[in-house]
C-alpha cells in the first residue's frame, strides 16, 4: 500500500515536471539527438566508432529503452566531464546539464513503466558456508566439513549466486565423503586422530632491539599482557578434534643481568592459559611446555611475556625494579673470552656476565603444537539427542524407532515434511544393513548418509505452482519462504520455529513475518550476514589471505590480522543486531577495539585483549569502514598503498559506480618523464595525462589519495617515506576535499547512490541471482522505504523480504507445466 502510494505520487510528480517543461517528449528527444549530433558523432559514428561506440545509429524512436546501457554511459561521461575530450569544443555547461537531466528523468520514467516481475531463481546448491552451518544446525556438531571442498565460483562478487554454483564430479565426491564423515562423527564420535606435531617458527620482528636495548619511551604505560608488543608471537591453528594438546614454547633473546625472572605465557583466543617463570639471561633455547584442552576448530595461539619491562635492573628506571644484588653470579669478565662466555651461557642458565648483557630483546623462537591426546571419542550427547528422537537410552533403540528417527531427520534436512514414500526408501537402508549383520545404528548411519547426498538436501529446489489466471507470478510455498529467510539471514537451515510457522501456513502473514525477521536479526546466527554478505561486499574477508611485507610492517601478525577482522565484524554486527543506520558504515562516532588495535591506532585507554565499544569522535582517524584497518589493508598492496585500488574500492562498494575495464592497448606507466624519485601522486598524475587513462583514473585516484593518511596496513601517517603527504583531491564533477573527514562527508552526501548500491547487492545476495531490469521498481521501493526510515538496517531487510522478487516466483507457461505433468503420469 505504502509503496503504491509512493509510486502514485512519483507519477504525479513526473506529470507536473513534464507540464512545467512545456515540451512534448518528442521535442526533447530531438534536442538530445541534436546535442549528440553536434558534440559526439564526430568520433562516435559508424566509421570511426571511437571506444567501440556509434551514437549516430542510435537515433531511433525507442533508443532510450533499447540502448539503455550505452546511454547510461553517455550520461556518466558527460556528468563527470570526461566527454567531450580535451581539445574538442565543449557545449555550454547548462545545455549539458539539461541533456543529462532529461535523460535521467526519462530513464526514471521508463523504469517505472517496466512491468515488475518476480524472476525465477534456479535451484540453489548449498555453498561452503551454508553447508557447514546447515550441518552444524542439523547434527549439532561443528566440524566444518566444507572447508576442504573446492572453492565455490563467485558471481557479481558473491558466492551464493545459483547460476554460478555449479557442481563438478569432484565436489560430488566430496559430498559423498563428507556425508559419511559427519554422520559417523555425530553417531559414533569423532574420527580418531593420531598425535602429530606442528612446528611454527616465530617471525623475527624484533630486529631493532637486537644487539641493543631500544626501550619504549614510557616504561610505565605499556601493554602488560605483552600481546601487542613485538616480543610476542601469534599463530592461527586449526585443531582437528576436541582433545588435549601440548604447547611447547621455545624462547630466545636476552635479559640484562640482575633482572628478575621473565614470565612467558600462553594465550588461546586472548585467554591466559598458563604463566611460566624463567630465570635466565640468555633465553636462547629455553623452553616451557603446557598441555591444555582445546575444542576443534580454529584458534589463535599467542606466546607473550607478561610485564616484560617490569623487574629490570634499577638502572633502567622501569616499574618494580629488580631487588637482586648487582653482583654477578660468576664474575668472569677478563678471564674468559667472549666466546667462552657465550658458550657458558648456553649451558648454565644462571650464569650472568655482568658487564656484557644489557639487552632487553626477549622474544620467541617457535611454538610446537602436539596432539591430539586423550581425544574425546564419544559422540556428543547433543548430536544423539537431535537424531534419536524416540527417547530411548543409548543402545536401547528399537526397530520401530527407525521410521520415527528418519522422518524427523529427513524433514529437517529437506526443510519440508518428507513423504511416507521417501521414508520407506530411507528405512530400506536400515533393513539392508541389518541383513548384512550390522547394528541398527549402522543402518541408521547409512540412511542418514543417503539423506545428506540427496539433491533435496544439497539444493534448495523451489517448485513451480500454477499461477492464478492473469498473473505472471505466484507466491513461493511456506517452506520455501522459510528457507529463503533462513539462508538469507543465517546462511543455514530454518529452525524449529520457522518450520512450525510454515507448517501452520502462517509465516506469510505480514505481522508474523515482520516479527520473525526481527527475531532472526537479533539471533547470533545473523552473524552470517556479517561474514558472508558484508565480508564479500566490502571484501574484508580477504584479510585472511593478505600478506603484508614483514620487513616493512613487522607489527603485522596474525593477532593484528584477527583484531582487524574482528573490529569490522563487530561494527557491522552491531548495526545488524541493534538495528543501526546503514549510513554508519560511511561515518560513525564509535568502533570496537581491543588493546592491540587501540595501540596500533594510537587510541589511549583500552587495555586487555577483549573488544569493547570505543568512542572515536574527535580522533584523527574518525569512524566508519574507511577508518578501519581491515578495509584499508585489503585495498592495498603488500608493500605500499594503492590509491587506484582504494579509489576503485570506494567507487565499487560505496558509490555503486564500478569503473569499467581498461580498454585494450592501454600503455603501461612509464617512468621516463617523471623519473623514479617522483611521488606516487606525481606518477599517477603523469598517467592521467593520457586521456584514455584519465577517463577512469580522474575519478578513482583522487578518492584513493584522500586515504593516503593510512598506510598499507591502515596505520595513521603524515608522510610517505620522507615526502610529506598531500591528501586533498578534486573530482571531475567539481567537488573537492582536503582531509579524510571531508572525503567521508562528501561520500555521506552521496547517500542515495550508496543506499541504492547496498540495496542491489543485498537483494542479489538474498535471492541468489543477478539484478535484472524488471527488478528496478523493487529496488527503488526498497531504497525509498529505507530512506524514510532513518536508514535502519532492519528496514532494508524487511524491504527485501517483502519485495516481489523475494516472495514470488515467475510461473512457467501453463502449457509447459501441463506437458511435464502429462509426461510424469505416463
Amino acid at each position: 500500500m505504502n509503496s503504491l502510494m509512493i509510486r502514485v505520487l512519483r507519477m504525479l510528480q513526473m506529470i507536473i515536471l513534464a507540464a512545467v517543461a512545456c515540451l512534448p517528449l518528442a521535442a526533447e528527444t530531438a534536442e538530445v539527438f541534436a546535442y549528440v549530433q553536434k558534440s559526439c558523432v564526430g568520433c562516435h559514428n559508424a566509421s570511426v566508432k571511437s571506444g567501440d561506440v556509434d551514437l549516430k545509429s542510435l537515433q531511433t524512436a525507442k533508443t532510450f529503452d533499447q540502448d539503455r546501457e550505452i546511454w547510461e554511459k553517455v550520461i556518466d561521461k558527460l556528468k563527470t566531464g570526461q566527454m567531450p575530450p580535451p581539445g574538442v569544443p565543449r557545449p555550454p555547461e547548462a545545455t549539458t546539464k539539461s541533456v543529462t537531466h532529461w535523460l535521467e528523468t526519462e530513464f526514471d520514467r521508463l523504469d517505472r513503466m517496466v512491468k515488475p516481475e518476480a524472476g525465477r531463481v534456479t535451484a540453489r546448491r548449498l555453498n561452503r558456508a551454508e553447508y557447514n552451518n546447515t550441518m552444524r544446525d542439523l547434527l549439532g556438531i561443528d566440524i566444518r566439513p566444507a572447508d576442504s571442498f573446492p572453492a565455490d565460483t563467485a558471481a557479481f562478487g558473491f558466492d551464493n549466486i545459483s547460476d554460478a554454483l555449479n557442481l563438478t564430479p569432484a565436489l560430488l565426491e566430496n559430498y559423498v565423503d563428507a556425508a559419511e564423515r559427519v554422520v559417523r562423527t555425530a553417531l559414533f564420535g569423532p574420527e580418531r586422530r593420531k598425535p602429530a606435531a606442528i612446528h611454527y617458527s616465530a617471525p623475527v620482528r624484533i630486529n631493532e632491539t637486537r644487539g641493543q636495548s631500544k626501550l619504549p619511551k614510557d616504561l610505565f604505560n605499556y601493554d602488560l599482557t605483552g600481546l601487542s608488543t613485538l616480543h610476542s608471537a601469534h599463530f592461527i591453528h586449526r585443531f582437528p578434534v576436541d582433545a588435549e594438546y601440548s604447547f611447547r614454547m621455545v624462547l630466545n633473546g636476552h635479559r640484562p643481568n640482575q633482572s628478575e625472572p621473565v614470565h612467558p605465557a600462553l594465550f588461546i583466543d586472548g585467554k591466559l592459559i598458563k604463566e611460566f617463570e624463567v630465570d635466565a639471561t640468555d633465553l636462547e633455547g629455553q623452553n616451557v611446555e603446557v598441555r591444555a584442552r582445546v575444542t576443534a576448530g580454529e584458534h589463535l595461539l599467542s606466546e607473550s611475556y607478561l610485564k616484560t619491562y617490569h623487574g629490570l635492573p634499577p638502572s633502567y628506571h622501569g616499574p618494580e625494579p629488580s631487588k637482586r644484588p648487582s653482583v654477578p653470579l660468576i664474575s668472569a669478565l677478563g678471564k674468559l673470552s667472549e666466546k667462552d662466555i657465550e658458550t657458558m651461557r648456553k649451558y648454565g642458565t644462571k650464569i650472568k656476565t655482568d658487564a656484557i648483557e644489557t639487552r632487553v630483546d626477549n622474544r620467541f623462537e617457535s611454538l610446537d603444537v602436539g596432539g591430539p591426546f586423550n581425544q574425546v571419542t564419544t559422540a556428543s550427547p547433543e548430536s544423539l539427542r537431535r537424531i534419536y528422537v524416540c527417547g530411548h537410552a543409548a543402545g536401547k533403540h528399537t526397530g520401530a524407532c527407525a521410521r520415527k528417527i528418519l522422518t524427523s531427520f529427513a524433514s529437517r534436512a529437506f526443510r519440508r515434511p518428507v513423504t511416507p514414500k521417501e521414508v520407506d526408501q530411507f528405512a530400506g537402508y536400515v533393513t539392508l544393513a541389518r541383513k548384512q549383520g550390522d547394528s541398527l545404528e549402522e543402518g541408521i548411519a547409512t540412511a542418514l548418509q543417503a539423506v545428506l547426498v540427496s539433491p533435496n538436501f544439497l539444493y534448495r529446489i523451489e517448485h513451480d505452482r500454477q499461477a492464478p489466471a492473469g498473473n505472471a507470478s505466484v507466491p513461493i510455498g511456506p517452506y520455501e519462504l522459510a528457507s529463503r529467510l533462513s539462508y538469507f539471514l543465517w546462511s543455514s537451515m530454518p529452525d524449529a520455529e520457522l518450520l512450525r510457522l510454515a507448517g501452520q501456513g502462517t509465516l506469510q502473514q505480514p505481522a508474523l513475518l515482520d516479527a520473525q525477521v526481527k527475531r532472526m536479526l537479533r539471533d547470533p546466527k545473523s552473524f552470517a550476514l556479517v561474514e558472508n554478505f558484508a565480508g564479500q561486499w566490502l571484501q574484508f574477508r580477504n584479510i585472511e589471505v593478505v600478506r603484508p611485507d614483514q620487513e616493512r610492517f613487522p607489527m603485522f601478525d596474525d593477532a593484528l590480522r584477527l583484531s582487524m577482522r574482528r573490529e569490522t565484524e563487530l561494527f557491522i554486527d552491531n548495526i545488524v543486531r541493534q538495528n543501526g543506520s546503514v549510513l554508519e558504515l560511511l561515518d560513525a562516532n564509535y568502533t570496537f577495539l581491543n588493546e592491540r588495535l587501540a595501540r596500533f591506532y594510537g587510541i589511549p585507554g583500552v587495555t586487555g585483549p577483549e573488544f569493547r565499544r570505543v568512542d572515536v569522535s574527535g580522533t584523527q582517524r574518525g569512524g566508519g569502514v574507511l577508518a578501519q584497518a581491515s578495509i584499508l589493508t585489503v585495498s592495498s598492496y603488500s608493500t605500499r598503498t594503492s590509491p587506484v585500488l582504494r579509489g576503485k574500492w570506494i567507487l565499487e562498494n560505496l558509490l555503486n559506480a564500478p569503473p569499467p575495464a581498461p580498454p585494450p592497448g592501454v600503455p603501461p606507466l612509464t617512468e621516463s618523464k617523471t623519473g623514479q624519485d617522483a611521488t606516487l601522486r606525481q606518477q599517477m598524475e603523469e598517467h592521467r595525462k593520457n586521456p584514455t587513462c584519465a577517463s577512469c583514473h580522474s575519478r578513482m585516484d583522487p578518492l584513493g589519495f584522500g586515504l593516503e593518511n593510512f598506510n598499507a596496513i591502515g596505520a595513521w601517517r603524515t608522510e610517505d617515506g620522507k615526502l610529506p603527504l598531500d591528501v586533498s583531491g578534486a573530482l571531475p564533477d567539481g567537488r573537492s576535499f582536503q582531509t579524510p573527514a571531508q572525503l567521508k562527508a562528501m561520500l555521506t552526501g552521496d547517500r542515495d547512490a550508496f543506499a541504492r548500491g547496498l540495496t542491489e547487492k543485498l537483494l542479489m545476495y538474498a535471492i541468489g541471482r543477478g539484478i535484472e531490469r524488471y527488478d528496478r521498481p523493487a529496488v527503488a521501493n526498497i531504497t525509498t522505504n529505507l530512506a524514510s526510515h532513518d536508514y535502519q538496517f532492519s528496514q532494508l531487510v524487511l524491504g527485501i523480504v517483502n519485495s516481489l522478487p523475494f516472495q514470488m516466483r515467475h510461473a512457467r507457461e501453463t502449457s509447459q507445466i501441463a506437458a511435464t505433468m502429462g509426461e510424469r503420469s505416463k
Binding site: 534456479t122 535451484a123 576442504s148 573446492p150 572453492a151 565460483t153 563467485a154 558471481a155 557479481f156 562478487g157 545459483s162 554460478a164 557442481l167 563438478t168 564430479p169 569432484a170 560430488l172 565426491e173 559423498v176 565423503d177 559419511e180 564423515r181 593420531k194 602429530a196 526408501q425 537402508y429 539392508l432 548384512q436 550390522d438 547409512t446 548418509q449 543417503a450 547426498v453 540427496s454 539433491p455 533435496n456 544439497l458 513451480d464 565480508g535 564479500q536 571484501q539 574477508r541 580477504n542 600478506r547 611485507d549 620487513e551 598492496y637 603488500s638 608493500t639 594503492s642 569499467p660 575495464a661 581498461p662 603501461p668 612509464t670 617512468e671 543477478g770 512457467r812 511435464t820 510424469r824
Partner: protein, 444 residues
Amino acid sequence: MNFLTGKHVDRRTLLRGVGAAIALPLLDAMRPAFATPAKLGSQARRVAVVYVPNGIVMKDWKPADPGKDFTFTRILKPLEPFRQDITVISGLANEAANKGKGGGHAKASGSFLSGTSPKYTAGPDVHAGVTFDQIAARRFASETRVASLQLGCEDARMVGNCDTGSSCAYTNTLSWKDPDTPLPVEVNPRSVFERLFGTVDPSLPADVRARRAMYRKSILDQTRDNTQRLTADLGASDKRKMDEYLTGIREVEMRIAAAEKDPVTPPSEKPSGIPFDYAEYVKLMFNLQVMAFQSDLTRVSTMMLGREGSVRTYPEIGVPDPHHPLTHHRGHPDFIEKVTKINCFHVELFAWFVERLKSTPDGDGSLLDHSAILYGGALSDGNAHSNSDLPLVIAGHAGGIRGGRYLAAEAKTPVANLFVQMMNGVGVETASFADSTGMLDLRA
C-alpha cells in the same frame, strides 16, 4: 614440521621433498604397492601443464642460439641437467588473448589452453572454450580412475572480480571441461590425495570396508533413480542443475567400479594440509602428480604455480613484494631483478619435478619418457600483457618428442600448433585444434 604423517621423519621428508636425492628411496619403497608388472608394461602416456603466472622476464629466459647446442639462460639454467629431455620453444602466440574485452590477465589464462577468448563478465555466465587437456582427459576417462587433476598452489578463495571485471574463473583455473564449465583447482594436498586414493580408512577390517562400500553404492544407485524422477517436474534451468548432479553421480559410480576392478593401496598416510613453505608445498603437489601418473590413476593434469595476477610474495628468496605489481615494473631495474628471481625460483621447482619424473621407472623407460609436460605461461612480457613469443618449455618424450634443442618457431605461430603435437604425442589423434595451422612437429 609435519604435513603428512607426523610420525616418521624419514617418510615425511620424502613427501616434503627437500631434494631429489632424499626423495628417491620413497619411490622404491612405494613401488610394490603401486605398480603391478602389468602396469609397467602399459603404453600409458601422460600430459601435463605447469603454469607460471604474470609473465617472464624474457631477456633472461629466451636463449640466443636456436638448435641443439643452445646456451641456457639465467632463468632456464636449473633445467640444464635435463638438456636432452627438454625442448625450449619461442615464437608461439595466443591470438585469442588479444581479442575482446576484459583484463589482460584474465584473457591470457582464460584463453590459454582453449584458444578461445573468454566472454567479458564477472557474473555467472562465464564462457570460454574446451581446453586441450580436457579433450585428452575425455579420451582417457574410461581407462583411469580420475579423468584429470586440476591443481593450484594458491588459495583461490577470492571474492569480487579477479581482473577488471573479468571473472575469477578465468584467472584461477586453466582447464575447461566445456565452454561453460571451468574446473576449479584443488589447492589442498590432502584433498588431492583423497581424490586419488579414496577416503576409506585403510586400518578398518576388510569386511567392514567392503560392507561400507556396498552401502555407498546402494545409496548412489537409489539417489540417481530418485533424482531422475525429480527432474521430470522441473523447469529448464533447474533441470540443467540436476543434469549436472546426475553426471556427478555417474562419474563417482564409474570411479568406484574402476577402483574395485583394480585396487590401489595408498602409498603413505595422508598429507595433513597445506605446507607453510611454498617450495615444500609445490613439491608436494608435484609429488602427488608423480604418484598419480606412476600408478596410472590419471594421465592428465594441469597445475598453476600461482593464479594469473598472483600477488604472492616470496620473502624466502628475498622478494617481499607482491608478484603482480612487480611485473608492472615500468622498466625499473630493481623490480625486474625481483621478477627474474621469482622466475628462476619457479624453474628450479619445475626442474625438481622433471627429475622426479625422470627417476621414476615406467614400462621400458621412465615416466618422463612417456610424458609431455608443458611449462610456461600465457604472458611473455608481464609489463605489457603481451601474448606473443610465449615462454614455453616441453619436458618429456611422449610420442617421440625428441628434446635436446631450442626451437625458434616463426613469429606468431599459433600456440595451438603445439597443443596438437602434445595431443598426438599422448595418442589423442587430431589434425587441428582451435586456431592451429598445423602441428608444431617436435619429433624431427
